[in-house]
Symmetry: C2
Subunit: 773 residues, 2 copies
Amino acid sequence: MSSPRRTIAALLALSLATPSLGQSASDNVDPFIGTGGEGHTFPGAVAPFGMVQLSPDTDTSHVIRDSYKWAAGYRYTDPTIQGFSHTHFSGAGHSDLGDFLVMPAVGEAVALEPGDPAKPGSGYRSRFDHKDEVAKPGYYAVTLSDPGVRAEMTAGTRIGVHRYAFPAGKAAHLVIDLRSSLYNYPGKILWSSLRLAPDGTLSGARETRGWAPGRKLYFAMRFSAPLRDHAFVSTEKDVPYKGFQGPGRGSEALAEKSGRGLVARLDFGALTAPLEVKVAISSVDEAGAVANLDSEPGDFDAVCAKTRAAWDKALGMLAIDAPAPMKTSVATALYHTLLAPSVAGDADGRYRGPDDQVHQAKDFTFRSTFSLWDTFRAEHPLLTLVQPEKTNSDIVRSLLASRRYSPDGILPVWQFQGRETWTMIGYHAVPVIADAYLKGVGGFDAREALEAMVASASYAPYGGLGDYMKLGYVAIDREPEAASKTVEYAYDDWTIARMARAMGRKDIADTFDKRAANWRNSFDAKTGFVRARKSDGAFRVPFDPTAINYGSDYTEGNAWQYSWFVPQDQAGLVQAMGGDKASVAKLDAMFDYDNSKLDYSHAEDIAGLIGQYIHGNEPSHHVAYLYNYAGAPWRTQARLTQIVASQYKPTPDGLSGNDDLGQMSAWLVFTALGFYPVTPGSLEYVIGRPFVNRAALALPGGKTFTIIAEGLDDAHPYVGSVSLNGRPLARGFIRHGEIMAGGELRFVMQAGPNKAWATAPDNRPFSSSTVRQ
Amino acid sequence: MSSPRRTIAALLALSLATPSLGQSASDNVDPFIGTGGEGHTFPGAVAPFGMVQLSPDTDTSHVIRDSYKWAAGYRYTDPTIQGFSHTHFSGAGHSDLGDFLVMPAVGEAVALEPGDPAKPGSGYRSRFDHKDEVAKPGYYAVTLSDPGVRAEMTAGTRIGVHRYAFPAGKAAHLVIDLRSSLYNYPGKILWSSLRLAPDGTLSGARETRGWAPGRKLYFAMRFSAPLRDHAFVSTEKDVPYKGFQGPGRGSEALAEKSGRGLVARLDFGALTAPLEVKVAISSVDEAGAVANLDSEPGDFDAVCAKTRAAWDKALGMLAIDAPAPMKTSVATALYHTLLAPSVAGDADGRYRGPDDQVHQAKDFTFRSTFSLWDTFRAEHPLLTLVQPEKTNSDIVRSLLASRRYSPDGILPVWQFQGRETWTMIGYHAVPVIADAYLKGVGGFDAREALEAMVASASYAPYGGLGDYMKLGYVAIDREPEAASKTVEYAYDDWTIARMARAMGRKDIADTFDKRAANWRNSFDAKTGFVRARKSDGAFRVPFDPTAINYGSDYTEGNAWQYSWFVPQDQAGLVQAMGGDKASVAKLDAMFDYDNSKLDYSHAEDIAGLIGQYIHGNEPSHHVAYLYNYAGAPWRTQARLTQIVASQYKPTPDGLSGNDDLGQMSAWLVFTALGFYPVTPGSLEYVIGRPFVNRAALALPGGKTFTIIAEGLDDAHPYVGSVSLNGRPLARGFIRHGEIMAGGELRFVMQAGPNKAWATAPDNRPFSSSTVRQ
């Protein structure tokens, strides 16, 4: 199914004005971007879409809401590192993971508690200095100054490898702390265990009640030096009944231990060579972890080189040329889009499904970490461009496999490691599948897919769908966030209709095309806002379009953001808003809103504000492109200039909001190229303005799609004209097929706006309320 | 490997003086025996060695030590039944289980809490009357008077079937309470889940921190009537973080729920026929439970009939004739010996091992519930007589499989559902395997077995074995219960030597024969007691031979009981005690000890006292037979008369101590037949006195071994003479081979003792300190 592609490296050397000779694609990436501020990314080592994301955790002591800042384990401003754990989310809007923390220790007395960051030496954590830190795709290194240990990390698909250089002549130890976890709280560890096999393999398990309650994860760990001694210590207190505590005294010396508070001390004696620790994880069982460990042979350097090559290949699919800061921003953004949906199944194909049971994947790799409410927008559309068909096919097959084993019979909502978290709203696996299908991604059963999509859109107990199907909208008196749900369901429904029609299923297409118009049931023409209605039909009052509250009429947003969410009929929305002029005015009012008196500090993920435009969260992401629908593409271009300048910097605090498993980054990658998928499922991209001088996308069959921005610089931020393969392009959008055919999209940039280009109704994206077929 | 046997039913009709015509073997069994007092048996439905033991629980509200009386869920004196759960131990000396409690409910308002037994109607529990109760092998029935429901239970090997006759016209419900557990305490439920499949199968899982911490169990349940509605309710309170609670409101209607406090309400509407509920369990996973469910087809009546036939066959292997009370006692005892080691692996051969991982059994059925400290004595020797070779072979193979996957590399100590509990002392899987091997049980790899036995006897971290191997005894200053451990290890060692010698492994045999003499290192000639020694060699003082305390010098006993534990050299012990006369005097002193001033109420399992002889616990079990070794077999006969009369009654409180998974009962079966395996591994049985008029043991190859007690009645309790196959038997023991050859053992009973029979040194069991080869 997948077509081999040539990496763009060779092409680049020939075709780009300023080829990056001597550098590989990985060198443009700065994994520290987003590790400060609100980005919630991590700097550690990971392979493309790797199951293991091995990264330093600077502080896991905070509980519940306080821990949100440490969602990815690492905060750039922290002075100490607590250890290195094997699982992290890249910019998730909630958190969990941080599994199986490893920390080196030196000398005779080994602390088994992390200690206080403010009191160096009070525990096993260590100070560190950013000047000693290195982070590249697939590689992370730091010097732990307290034990004096140089620590390096690399990762394969299902493995992580640690390398610790201990000070000479001193006893070397590792602390494995199974109590440590991200987004921690008392009682999170349901159970854990440690086991030492006769061959020296350490394995274990942990079951947690976190974001995905009842989540099971297993590990297996091997060491390059023989283990001299060990202690498995249970630190749990106040347990009414612990059972019998093992045979005789000194049970810490046994080969096993289980409990809710476990920490291991491993003793290696004085070492003459760095200690390598190779770790695999599995959601299936310990045998799966051991098999995963065996499936990727090689030592630290071998694994690191292999992963580096994989990154060079993956990043090389989209070569860009731009001034250094923008090049770093975009390359890092592309890197961040290639971390999820990550591999979640074992090397032997087994995986844990949403029913918490183990299943066997046949001919595909099971993937999970589906942040679908975020990623259906631009992350998945980007993957259909920059990743082989196999990746996208596996994503769809994983969604379908998850639905097959869903107790509720529906597609994933927000899933990781195969486990449903019920986070956010909508059934946005639906547009992901429809978009992939309509773009020709194969390798899955389209009939099963359509059936799964219809089932997911018809499950009455889910999020007010009973009312939605009956009334045409979700009723706010019976279901929270009804306004957001209504408009998002309607868009998802439209993608079902699109796919059904392409499959010749007119019955389904007609039904869901009708449902796609349900956004109108939530649109209040009087106020010009999408609003929540009660079951008696009345809009809920009082109404404050600036209010943001949990469980309110909207989901992580308010009427300002949500009133623009009609991807399936943005042209219809422009009409409903009162036409071009009124729509442009309203868009301007949104961006120019004086927010100095607003306080959204109570609401998670409300960051990156430009008036009422909130770039740090997803509902706003397509809004800047909507001027195009109202005949004012130059206004889109101006807003994009404003957003990119204020929301993305190549620094640790350079992301204005959670990266959301690549969605924030995918927005930048698309926007930098000059177009954006406002409506996944439409096969069209709305043209904005480019931010890179040149880009080349490697396509199947050895083809290339090149984007050139002639004359681009800060003084020339507007699109003067556009040509496709040498012919002028009068319309404000390009088609997916035009990209996939290969060729050249050339922008001629200019200092001021071209107010004529792409303004005619026929040249606008979605110029009628029915999408072009 | 297994040889077909004819059941004894046909033989009986021909050969017994008073054949039990018209009755099947099952009819002699009274499962209520032991359900009161200290027996800890249960009256519910179970197939021979069944994985499911489906039985009523009368009260699971007691916590920790208070719950010991409810160790098997049911107490005969309780006025209410809380529900029916699927797993129970038969007379265990500790407790756990009670998994997946089901209770019928009627009407509109369904209580989801069990309520107060003192307040009828305060919850879902119900009053009941013993006159409405029926218990037979494989069948249990009761009328639940509060809802007015007739409840019947039956069980197959891996399934249980409930049948509930609801009152006409009223709404029928079931409550499934995953919070209910035996030996409960706060925090015991680590996690649980419920899932409803589209085909109506309810499945679920529970992980508990009980006797075996981290124990996972799964179930699948199907109903004979369609499920109309359901609610999955989480009652857990004060959880800092619960994750997202499912899509929208009313998540109780979803098809799944997980948490630490789950209860389900299932609604069937008004029913016109009894509701059948078929349940399977699995230690592996839910798919395993579903497959187990499918592996035993048939409705309630079909399963009940099949299990009844299985019981008739199993019980029919040993036909007995005796007055009704003794017949009931012995038949019920035999029934109780056929419940464990129970089937623990799935129908497809998968099982969960002591490493908590899933493994595949090849060509054998994985069994667990090994109460080895109890059952190595008489339970396993009995199974080698009354069960097919396959049963005994499977037991050995299960022990070896468990050792193969033991993190510590040793054989099970006290294991259930594949999980080690580290309860009691010794490595008594060793004598079980040795005894089976020496008796010719095949089907396992003897070399692997011997290696496992040696490894288990050589694991230094276990119970002071490091000191034992160095010093020749366990040192009490470094390990509790050192006196008991020393003498039990020494016996276990002797059985290794026996098996090694039979296999031609002289090296191992010599080593362990030497270790077998280690009992002498703990024997204090001065006091005539086995005592605990310190690492400096001195016996610990102060010394009180009547003291019983946890963690003291002895295990659930004192010097009086433990000083007789030298099964491998009882003749040597008699000599060490000062010869025949001194030994008889000391035995008499033990039985005749004035215990009126002793208070052992602080110690668990100290029940059934006759002086310092404690029949309710195992260390005493062989002691009455020891007069034979001192030339006074008639004293053994008198003591047996005394013990049987005082310790066994065919009533609910008829067992003086925990049945201990068949050991208490196996003692009675052997003793009733007239002989007892004082020394498993010796291939000899010490002759006592019979308590049945006639017995017939069906043997492989269609042979029969018949025991006849001529003239037996209460007035004739002594053995006058013994003949084997018509020839006088002068010795006080018989050989295993003599039984297995088939034939007739005939006792002639008389009013007074025959003080001459079997007293000559050569006619005594173990007449030298080296066992006969």
